[in-house]
């Protein structure tokens, strides 16, 4: 019965400067829907981390955001190199980022842990050589 709103984004990897635009847009959309600021912040941060990861580690991808009555769902898909050891990648401080990426302010190894921390549900599916799918949910109530 509950109505679902969807937002779809193509996340481009060409331009690091514009990375994060989809998350900024989602934040605006959620504000317009009048959702609580704390919920919006958690969704925005989790999506932003995921979006940046797709840009710096996977050559871009897609982001879909579904807003239901009960939760906000973020689905990120890319056809990048995949993650060999997901448990290891989820550890705080683990990063394969290059010095170039570090000099841009990323590569602390905090992104995936942050995504987990700010969401109520998160799954990571990844196949080396094929890509990575991440689904996250933030409950509204």
């Amino acid at each position: 019965m509950s109505e679902v709103l969807n937002f779809h984004f193509d996340v481009d990897h060409e331009d690091f400067t514009s990375a994060g635009q989809a998350s900024v847009q989602v934040k605006k959309n959620l504000r317009q829907l009048g959702l609580p600021p704390e919920i919006i912040r958690r969704v925005s941060i989790a999506m932003y981390e995921g979006e940046i990861n797709m840009v710096i580690h996977a050559g871009g991808g897609t982001a879909d955001v579904n807003v239901t009555e009960d939760y906000i769902e973020i689905i990120l898909k890319d056809h990048g190199p995949g993650i060999k050891d997901i448990d290891q990648a989820m550890q705080e401080g683990f990063s394969t980022a290059t010095d170039t990426i570090r000099s841009l302010g990323f590569g602390a190894g905090m992104g995936l842990p942050n995504m987990k921390r700010y969401t109520d549900y998160m799954t990571v599916q990844s196949v080396v050589g094929e890509g990575t799918d991440i689904t996250m949910r933030v409950n509204i109530n």
Binding site: S18, G20, K27, E49, I52, G105, A108, M110, P113
Partner: protein
């Protein structure tokens, strides 16, 4: 602490959103790694950083931060200023280095924030 007080304490130059200087901030975070910043739950916080690119402003925006202080006289790009204006985020630049700038704010009563454990 009022944003205008931060400007005075750090002898900083305001780059944009001067009209927001009367707002208050209640905590601060100093880092050049954006995911470190994103790991902290902030309510009306100020970000001190030596990093200059658009992701600094987007990170602040995601965190609902009200003010970014660039240390060591780093100057933001035109695009960053544009992004900050859209979100009403005060940008300022100080000659002071990160350690000193954070120390000054801390000893004047602006505390850090803890990592959220959920």
């Amino acid at each position: 602490m009022k944003i205008s007080t931060i400007k005075e304490l750090l002898e900083a130059d305001v780059i944009c959103c001067e009209e927001e200087l009367t707002r208050h901030v209640y905590s601060a975070c100093g880092s050049d790694m954006m995911s470190d910043v994103l790991a902290y739950v902030k309510d009306q916080a100020v970000l001190l950083t030596g990093l200059v690119n658009s992701q600094v402003v987007r990170t602040a925006e995601m965190m609902d931060m009200k003010c970014i202080v660039f240390v060591r006289s780093k100057i933001p790009t035109a695009e960053m200023i544009e992004l900050a204006k859209e979100s009403g985020i005060v940008l300022m630049a100080t000659k002071k280095r990160m350690y000193e700038a954070c120390g000054i704010l801390f000893t004047n009563g602006l505390v850090g924030n803890r990592v959220k454990n959920v």
